[in-house]
Symmetry: C2
Subunit: 195 residues, 2 copies
DNA sequence: ATACAATCTTATCAGTGTCAAGATATCGCA
DNA sequence: TGCGATATCTTGACACTGATAAGATTGTAT
């Protein structure tokens, strides 16, 4: 039975992990700094030593979840041997992440989240960048005009992102793993003629 | 200079319209019942005569915005003469609504919103129903297997919903009207062979 | 006209984000 | 080693929020 030390030691990390666990249970809109602080056994103002404000805290959690998502995607890309299938496999992985973690979708991709993200670090959103780059690669080798490569890249990106959005909704049970693959393949880009 | 009457007269309507205007300016997360009440020139507890709680109020605003969205979609469907183009025209209309009203996307389609919607009235989400029905109609006349009609319906639905999601994000300026049409047509379903 | 229901106000509660002031621990440097 | 600067944490406060209770005002039906 050790006494609680004045300094927590790893409070920043603990706050982030407990906050994410909370969001995964109850959703972002129920989250409060004070409850997370209490869960970490620390007073209400303690988080302000590590985060400027609540948005800063949310941004830190986002980075954490985004990294887990990106990790899952890059593993998928690296493990895929078949070049021609890499795009649909990446798509399936993208969708299934949110099928299994439905509460993460709004958290990562709500307008507010994207805004915080872009203002704190105005690079691109990593999974968007990866998907577009991959699609451009695959489509570039198909002898299509550059303009159509752009259109089809955006189309595949939107298709996958949209499937993820629908998968993350409650009571919309059209989508499970084998179906996702079939749906994505049903618009396989190699079939599309020039317009 | 008339004196303020004790009874507002059309408070419920005023609350809903002012609330929506507020969301369209500042986003849902900044909205508070008290501010909307004040804007209507009424005390903080007055809204509770018309709405059970905040979620009930949000649900009412959702219905209002959803109707505006559905209105735009049904006009599009009715005005479209060319049967073969009806799906892509509906898609363009779907996307452009959120391109022009980016703050409405999360408001209508966040997990929380869908949850409130489904719990208060467990029918389908109207624009989803309309899009799926239209897609099924168009695709049904193409001599494809029933299974593939299902897949391609979901694919077109997800594509359009995903484009809307991306269009509603800040600083993601890939999508304007002429491009949206080209993107959707770039995966026109008539080109897809059986798998 | 009188009883009843709907609408609105005032007052209050617990919970929230945020900040200031001060307590406590850690770290760098003499 | 010791001492001062700095990081971390607590307590206490402030304004704001959603929500409820009690009571005032108005509309309505009989």
């Amino acid at each position: 039975m050790e006494k609680k030390p004045y300094h927590h030691g790893e409070l920043k990390k603990a706050l982030i992990e407990n906050g994410i666990e909370f969001i995964n249970q109850y959703g972002e809109e129920k989250l409060s700094l004070r409850k997370v602080a209490e869960k970490c056994g620390v007073s209400n103002a303690a988080p302000y030593a590590h985060f400027k404000d609540k948005d800063d805290f949310i941004n830190a959690m986002q980075k954490y979840v985004m990294e887990a998502f990106m990790n899952s995607l890059t593993i998928c890309v690296n493990e895929c041997k078949d070049e021609t299938q890499i795009l649909s496999e990446l798509g399936v992985c993208y969708v299934m992440f949110f099928y299994h973690n439905p509460l993460y979708f709004d958290f990562l991709f709500s307008r507010k989240s994207i805004q915080i993200r872009l203002s704190s670090d105005n690079s691109d959103i990593p999974p968007f960048e990866l998907f577009r780059r991959t699609a451009k690669n695959v489509l570039g080798k198909m002898g299509i005009s550059e303009e159509n490569v752009r259109y089809k890249t955006t189309a595949m990106w939107a298709l996958v992102h949209g499937l993820a959005a629908l998968s993350a909704m409650p009571n919309i049970d059209i989508v499970w793993e084998s179906e996702v693959r079939a749906i994505i393949n049903s618009v396989d880009i190699s079939d599309i003629k020039e317009s």
